[in-house]
């Protein structure tokens, strides 16, 4: 592959990283703090390609050992063609954040399990702050429902944010939790119970207010808690679709 082509590919990849980091869509793929890595990485890529392009434009005559390092063109870097794949995927397809498909593929509440002690023992969670209804992360809610020996959720009205997953007869509110990127996403789900909890499409984002049904989130229901939902509001997908 010619150097010009390599440089254009680098500009495209760097540009793709800059685009998603500046318009906010990077949150569909990676954690928020990765933004600065993306901006830095994208800028360096564009810069490295730019310097190479500028040198080729302004160099008067080719001379030996021009580059010091010849590995870029000693051999045909055919593998570099693959760099076009993420560029095309980002610019043309712009894949959406993971949603109901990923949750249905994995039935257990993994994001809550990471907050537990690792064994099936109950443990004492820190007390919840004041607030009614109290906004709680879905993974935190599911972990407390299953393993909090202090029963901090009893008689508390909470507000949960997530997307709808319809699985069989049940409607769930679900969310994915990521550490680094979408490849390590862990699902968490809460069963919705109440008169107006049916008829929603998969991946519909909702704010749901309700209380934990006592006696749910045990081994019998795979530690999936049930929320007696009183109020459901459709919302747009949050800027950051994942919990962390």
């Amino acid at each position: 592959m010619r150097r010009e082509t390599q440089n254009i590919l680098l500009v495209l990849v760097g540009g793709a990283l800059l685009k998603i980091s500046l318009n906010g869509t990077y949150l569909q793929y990676v954690k928020p703090s990765h933004r600065y890595w993306l901006i830095g990485g994208g800028l360096v890529m564009v810069l490295l390609a730019g310097i190479s392009i500028a040198r080729e434009l302004f160099a008067r005559a080719p001379h030996e050992h021009d580059d010091g390092d010849h590995e870029g063109h000693d051999h045909s870097a055919r593998s570099a063609w693959l760099l076009i794949l993420p560029v095309l995927t980002i610019f043309l397809i712009a894949p959406p954040a993971l949603g109901a498909d990923s949750v249905r593929a994995d039935a257990s509440n993994r994001a809550a399990t990471t907050l537990s002690s690792g064994a099936d023992d109950r443990m004492l969670f820190s007390p919840l702050p004041a607030g009614d209804p109290l906004p709680v992360k879905l993974s935190d809610f599911a972990a407390r429902a299953a393993w909090d020996s202090g029963n901090s959720l009893d008689n508390r009205r909470v507000r949960l944010t997530g997307f709808v997953v319809v699985d069989g007869q049940n409607t769930y509110l679900a969310r994915l939790s990521i550490t680094c990127c979408a490849a390590d996403a862990l699902p968490v789900r809460v069963r919705l119970d109440g008169p107006r909890t049916t008829g929603y499409q998969n991946d519909t984002w909702l704010n749901v207010t309700g209380t934990l049904r006592p006696g749910s989130a045990t081994e019998d229901d795979d530690y999936v808690p049930t929320l007696s939902a009183t109020e459901l509001t459709k919302i747009h997908q949050p800027e950051d679709p994942y919990e962390h």
Binding site: R3, T5, L10, L17, H34, G41, R55, G68
Partner: protein
């Protein structure tokens, strides 16, 4: 000028004859002529191919999006972009360090920094890896650069294995993911360090230089003052182009397996330690998670003893499909097909021993 002659004249139009790039002033027309020596006929070069791909992709965007509408493909595309986007900035950091070593750190300085005896230099390099708190993608170009600066291969490989596995960021993440089992941090540290040292020593004893492709080892001329910066930029750029494609390939494989390998059957393993060790070792190989995140994924598997989870954490940063693609591209295939399986076995054994030592059993 160039070391290897254009051995495939029939494919020179696509892959470029080596002498093309050494004519920086060359315009597209000049380069096209050069592709077929002596011929004036117009040949299709890589630039034209790139333009054609872009135009076709733009025109076919609607079709492309509708083809990818199946749930598995949609999820796969998201994971693919996520892996690439996650890893590329770390690769950029790696090639910058590699470029800086090439341009500003002479081989003599490195020789003086490292103990003369390889058996001692391996642990020193292994511990130096702790200072590079990034994912494995950054360590690969740096390790290759160290080899090219004359550092013994075994020493560079020890660095390659420890840098992603036992840096402070990873250890803190492990501690957060296993709040009630702080022994996990120590066990991970011991297991990963042991893996790196054993692999370094094994290479020093049995490794052969000819397994690594020649260009990964070729020494560079020492740059003089003025050309240092030019060398820095060109080395970093060339390393990036070189490794970037293989990183994408690794991301593609990892994304496919991520979607195709169902996670729920891992839960069914329960308390079976031996089976758990085998399955989680293979899972670490296939999922290719970044080393900051793997502890949380391991912690999310319920009802399993600590030992298989430890194996997952020690194997993952040492060898996985993404890393294999990157290593095959950087050091050559005949290196990768020997190094990766050996690392896998050594990592599993080291993790099990370290786990038995720290947990006093399966945990």
């Amino acid at each position: 000028m160039s070391a290897d002659p254009p051995s495939r004249p029939e494919s020179a139009d696509l892959t470029d004859a080596p002498e093309l790039a050494t004519a920086p002033g060359g315009s597209v027309a000049v380069a096209d002529v050069a592709a077929g020596p002596g011929k004036r006929r117009y040949r299709v070069g890589s630039l034209e191919v790139l333009c054609a791909i872009l135009v076709i992709a733009l025109v076919g965007q609607g079709n492309l999006v509708s083809w990818l509408d199946a749930p598995m493909l949609r999820t796969g595309a998201t994971v693919f972009v996520a892996v690439c986007v996650q890893a590329l900035p770390f690769l950029v950091l790696g090639v910058l360090i590699s470029g800086a070593i090439a341009a500003f750190v002479s081989g003599k300085v490195l020789e003086r920094l490292l103990p003369r005896r390889q058996a001692l230099a391996v642990p020193v390099a292994g511990l130096a890896g702790v200072a590079l708190p990034t994912c494995e993608c950054a360590a690969v170009p740096v390790a290759r650069r160290l080899m090219r600066q004359g550092v013994p291969t075994s020493v560079a490989l020890a660095f390659l294995l420890t840098a992603p596995a036992i840096n402070p960021v990873v250890l803190v993440a492990t501690s957060v993911a296993f709040p009630n089992n702080q022994g996990m941090v120590l066990a991970r540290l011991l297991g990963s360090l042991a893996t790196a040292l054993v692999m370094g020593w094994l290479w020093a004893r049995f490794g052969k230089a000819e397994w690594i492709i020649e260009r990964a080892l070729r020494r560079l001329p020492e740059p003089d003052g003025r050309s240092r910066w030019r060398m820095f930029f060109e080395t970093a750029r060339a390393d990036l182009v070189d490794a970037g494609g293989f990183l994408v390939l690794g991301g593609l494989i990892a994304a496919t397996l991520n979607v195709a390998v169902p996670r729920h059957w891992v839960d069914a393993l329960g308390q079976q330690v031996v089976l758990g060790v085998v399955v989680l070792a293979v899972l670490a190989l296939l999922l290719a998670l970044c080393s900051e995140a793997d502890a949380f994924v391991a912690a999310s598997i319920s009802g399993m003893p600590l030992l298989p989870k430890l194996v997952f954490l020690v194997v993952g940063p040492a060898v996985d499909v993404k890393l294999f693609a990157l290593q095959a591209g950087t050091f050559g295939r005949s290196f990768a097909v020997r190094f990766a399986p050996a690392t896998f076995v050594v990592a599993v054994v080291c993790a099990v021993l370290s786990g038995l030592l720290v947990f006093g059993g399966a945990g």
